[in-house]
Structures are given as C-alpha cells and as structure tokens.
C-alpha cells in the first residue's frame, strides 16, 4: 500500500514537472534558446500565489490565473527586450543572458522575502481524501490533474489550431513563415508568453503544498532540463511522459534511498543519459 502511495504521489508531482517543462521544451525546440530562468519563473508563480493570498485573500482559481497572466507578460517582455537581440549574438551571450535573468529574479525575490521557507497561509486548498486505501492530499490531486490537463491543452493548441500551426511554422522555417504572412517576432513572443505562463501556473499549483523559498528555481530548472532531455527537444508529449517518469523516480528514490538523494538520482540519471545518448532519450540529432 505504501508503494502505491509513493507512486501516486510521484506521478502527481511529476504532472506539475510535465507542465512547466513543456514550456521550456517549446521555446527550446522553437528557437534553440535555453531559458535558464525558467525555474525562477516557476518560483515567481509561487510567490505571486502567496502575495495574492496574503494581500487579496484570493482563492486558488484567482491566484492561478493571476500567476498565468503576470508570467505571460513577463515572458513576452523578456522576449522583446532581451532574447530577440541576444539570439543573433554569440553563444556566450545567449547562455549568459537568461542566466543573468535567473540571478536577477532569484535574488530580487530573496531581497524582499529572505531565504526563510514559507507556506501559503491558512492553505486556500486543504484536506485529503482516501482513494482505494491510500491517502491523497487534495492540493496535490488538484495540481496534478490540472497540470496534466493543461499540458495536453498546450499540445492540442500547438497541433490543432491555426495559432499553433503558425508557431510551429516559425520554428520550422522563419523565412518561409514570413512569406506566408506570419510575423515571426509576434509568434516567438507568444511562445515565450505561453512558456512562461506554464511556469507561472505550475508555480501557483505547487505553492498550495510545496515550501516557498527564493532559490527553489535552481533545482526546478535542472529538473526541467532533465525532463526535456528525456522527452526530446521541442516535444510536448515527450515532456509530459518524461515529467511523470521523473516525478516517479524522485518519489521512489526519496522513499527507498533517502529524501536528500532524490535530486542526486535525477542528476546522475541525466549525466548517464548524456553519456549514452547525448541527443536525449527520445530525441534525434
């Protein structure tokens, strides 16, 4: 029974990993730009949820929407002000720019909130239910189901709508897309907004049961890298599957080896994959 409990818990957290990793993989596959600040965007989502609860007594729906909206604006602004120019520059500038962004975001939040671990006050979402002999927290359940739903939604948006086709067209061939009357800048800004919103929502969702600390983004972005590496660059379904697997691996290793080793196992797996299949588990290159 305990094993089942561990598995379900891992899958539910893995669903949230899937959600924010699908944003990272979208931008990565589309523009070949890695957003090192993606984990810090998740962290921003968490703190927006916290602020909304403290200042506005907002409910879960309101603070999740608020996080999505704020982060999508942040994403689009970052694209227009920074990424658009840096993309054409040398590799060092590309990597450093989002890394600098990560530091700026992380330590600005640190400056205001200090490193203290906090949790959402009077948890907006609480309680747990007993399903088939195992205990599942309501916040985890809601977050997991919503995250999977949104990840599937993102996949459908990209594959079934005109907007999605336009985004994919730009990532396939910028020039050809322009000739078809698509504005690449607008599409790429949209992709950044979408990707950042996925991080913001994921942050708001896990804020209901996760600890909040300004440096949490550092480990989250590494998890997202591993997920993207597993699932193939640019593949949302790949990220979804890989996110669930990573969540599962973390939960199992935390329970059977020890909580401090849950990240060790994931990073070691990542390094092992780089050795065996440097292009990613499901990727081609």
């Amino acid at each position: 029974m305990i094993a089942l409990q561990v598995v379900v818990g891992g899958l539910l957290l893995g669903a949230v990993y899937a959600l924010f990793s699908s944003g990272l993989t979208l931008v990565w596959g589309m523009m070949n730009v890695v957003n090192f600040a993606h984990g810090d965007f998740v962290m921003l989502g968490m703190y927006i949820a916290y602020l909304a609860v403290v200042a506005l007594h907002a409910g879960p729906l309101v603070f999740t929407l608020l996080a999505a909206l704020t982060l999508s604006i942040v994403g689009a602004v970052v694209y227009y002000l920074l990424i658009r120019q840096v993309m054409r520059g040398p590799m060092l500038a590309q990597i450093l720019s989002t890394f600098g962004l990560a530091l700026l975001v992380r330590y600005t939040v640190f400056w205001f909130f200090s490193a203290t671990f906090i949790t959402l006050p009077g948890s907006a979402l609480g309680g747990s239910i007993r399903l088939g002999g195992i205990l599942i927290g309501i916040p985890q359940l809601v977050a997991g189901i919503l995250a999977i739903g949104l990840t599937i939604g993102m996949h459908l948006l990209l594959t079934r709508t005109t907007l999605g086709s336009q985004i994919l067209a730009v990532s396939e061939d910028r020039q050809a897309a322009m000739l078809m009357g698509i504005r690449p800048d607008r599409m790429q800004a949209l992709a950044w907004g979408l990707a950042s919103a996925s991080a913001g929502i994921a942050g708001a969702l896990i804020a209901t049961f996760y600890y909040l600390t300004p440096t949490v983004g550092e480990s989250l972005v590494l998890i997202a890298f591993v997920v993207v590496c597993f699932g193939g660059f640019g593949s949302v379904p790949g990220a979804m599957l890989a996110g669930l697997i990573i969540g599962l691996i973390q939960a199992v290793s935390a329970y059977y080896i020890g909580p401090v080793y849950k990240d060790v196992v994931v990073y070691a797996l990542f390094v092992a994959i780089l050795w065996v299949r440097p292009q990613g588990l499901m990727g081609t290159a």
Binding site: N32, V34, L81, L82, Q85, V86, G89, P90, M91, L92, A93, Q94, I95, L96, S97, F99, G100, L101, A102, L103, L104, V105, R106, Y107, T108, F110, W111, E218, S219, L222, F225, V226, C229, V260, Y261, D263, V264, Y267, A268, F270, V271, L274, W275, P278, Q279
Partner: protein, 319 residues
C-alpha cells in the same frame, strides 16, 4: 604594447605596499585569486567558446583534498594539490568526452548538472565532513603549512600562479592550439571539415582549465583554513568565474583580471555597506550586469575600450 605589460607587472608587484590595511590586503589577494580562476575558465569558455558553468567542481575538489590530507592523516595540506589536480582532470575528461561531441547549451547544462550532483554528494558524505565541511591546521606547524596571518604572502602566491596561467594562455594564443580553438569557436563544422579535431582540442582546453582551477582551489583552502560544500562547490563559484571573464572580455588575455578586480571591489564594498544583506544585493547586481553585457556588449569591457580607441584613431586620421 610591451611597456604596458611592464607597467602592469610593476603595479601588481608593488600593490601590497599601498594596500597595507588588512581589509584591502585581503581584497587584493582575493582579486588575484579570482583573476586566476577567471583566466582558467577563459581557456575553455573564452578561447574555445564552450560555456562551462560547473567549474566549482574543480575548485571544490582542489579545495577539499588538501584539507582532507590534513584532517585524516595530519599531512601537509600542500601534498593534496597534485591529487586534487588529478581528480579534477579525471572529472573534466569524464564530463568532456561525451558532451564535447555536442554543441552549445548541452555542455553548459551538463556542467551545471555534474557540479550540483557532486555538491549534493559531498554535502552528504561523512568522510569529507558532510555539510559541516573541513578545517585546516589552526596555526602553521612548519613553513610548509603556508599559514600566515596577513593576506600579503597569499597575494604573492596568487600572483605567481596568475603569471603561470597568463603565460600559458599567451603561449596558447600563439600556438597551433590557439588557432584551432579560435577556428572551433568561429564555426565547429567548418573547423572539423578542415581537419581540426574539435572534440580533442576542446578537451585539452578543458583539462588545462580544470587543472588551474583546482590549483587555485587548493591555495584558497590553504589561505582560508576552512571549507564547506556551499562555499566551494556552490553554483555561485562557477557563475562568478564566468561573469568575471565575460565582464572583462572573454577570449582576451587580460579581460579576466579586469573583470575580477572590478567585481571583487564591488562585492567587498557591497558587503561592507549592506552587511549580511550585501550578498543578495551583489547577486542582483551580477544579474543586471550579465543581462546588460549580453544584450549590449557581449565582448566585454575591453571591447568597449577597443571601440573607443578605434574611434579616436579614426578621428585623428581625418583631422
């Protein structure tokens, strides 16, 4: 150009005479330590163009081994230096061989992941002191413990190592390897089509870079007499090396020294002005500096200076 080097050498040699105050003595010693580190990173990051963000591993290994030698066998810490270098080079090969076949971001990510992996392992490994870290000899037993109260002797030790790195980098710039690395940086495919073995030369650059970083780590540990996982294996160590080199000018001889001097001064004054909060503020500033650099002048400050000189020369030419 030659007299500029003489002036620089002279300034570096007599600097401690003007900075006799312990506060400033420590500051200039740290400047040179970081100049060594940034220059070491510059070999693989600047010249070969491979943006490693995990050099804290080499620094940490270099810092830990000498204090391990002392803690477990009461040995002279200096004996740990070659062991640290050997381990660091081993890790460099282990990380470099698979990732150097790939381009770009991959290498950066792999280096971060390996650095975090090793930091977590060290934090939970009792033999190396786990989260508490390790201490060195409280007072020097023999001259070989290199235990001084003043920072000035360390300043000169770092200066010697800095000269060594600079000498190597200068030699490399002129040699076949330097040409190969520049070719790889400009376009790996083109370089390979002309017969340059890109993975091999990138690996050479990485090995040398790791060895110097490890050596600097050992000397840092000997100077401080204490290490813990976060202060030497933490990701900020890696990031600082990158920023300093990039700020001064990645892929230039003297850029890392310029960047290190500026940022250590900034950090020192931020810490003394804002106390404990200084650290957070320093990192906010770092973030801002990196963003502005990569957005407006990826070549670093030396590039701005060169632009200025070129413009001035052009103006003189037209008059």
């Amino acid at each position: 150009m030659r007299w500029a080097w003489v002036v620089l050498g002279g300034v570096l040699l007599v600097a401690p005479l003007t900075f006799q105050d312990p506060f400033y003595g420590r500051m200039i010693a740290l400047m040179l330590l970081w100049a060594v580190l940034a220059s070491a990173w510059n070999i693989v990051g600047g010249y070969a163009g491979q943006v490693a963000i995990g050099h804290a591993v080499f620094f940490g290994v270099g810092a830990y081994v000498p204090l391990l030698v002392y803690t477990h066998w009461q040995g002279v810490p200096l004996l740990g230096i070659p062991v640290g270098i050997a381990v660091s080079v081993g890790i460099a090969v282990l990380v470099g061989v698979p990732t150097f076949r790939l381009l770009g971001h991959y290498f950066s990510m792999a280096t971060i992941a390996v650095a975090e992996l090793i930091r977590l392992l060290v934090t939970n490994w009792e033999f190396v002191g786990a989260a508490r870290g390790l201490g060195g000899p409280g007072t020097g037993r023999t001259i070989w413990d290199l235990s001084y109260r003043s920072s000035i002797p360390y300043y000169y030790i770092f200066l010697a190592v800095f000269t060594l790195v600079l000498g190597f980098t200068y030699w490399m710039e002129q040699s076949r390897m330097g040409y190969y690395l520049r070719a790889i940086k400009a376009g790996q495919r083109a370089a390979r089509s002309l017969g340059v073995s890109a993975p091999r030369y990138k690996l050479y650059a990485m090995i040398v870079s790791a060895a110097f970083t490890s050596l600097a780590g050992s000397l840092y540990a000997v100077m401080l007499g204490f290490v813990d996982p976060d202060s030497v294996f933490g990701i900020m160590v890696s990031v600082q090396m990158v920023i300093m080199a990039a700020l001064g000018g990645a892929g230039t001889l003297i850029g890392p020294l310029v960047g290190a001097a500026l940022l250590i001064a900034l950090q020192t004054f931020a810490n003394s002005l804002f106390g404990g909060q200084g650290n957070g503020l320093t990192f906010i500033l770092y973030g801002g500096i990196i963003i502005l650099l990569s957005r407006f002048e990826p070549g670093g400050l030396l590039e701005i200076w060169n632009h200025y000189l070129a413009r001035k020369r052009r103006k003189e030419g037209t008059e």
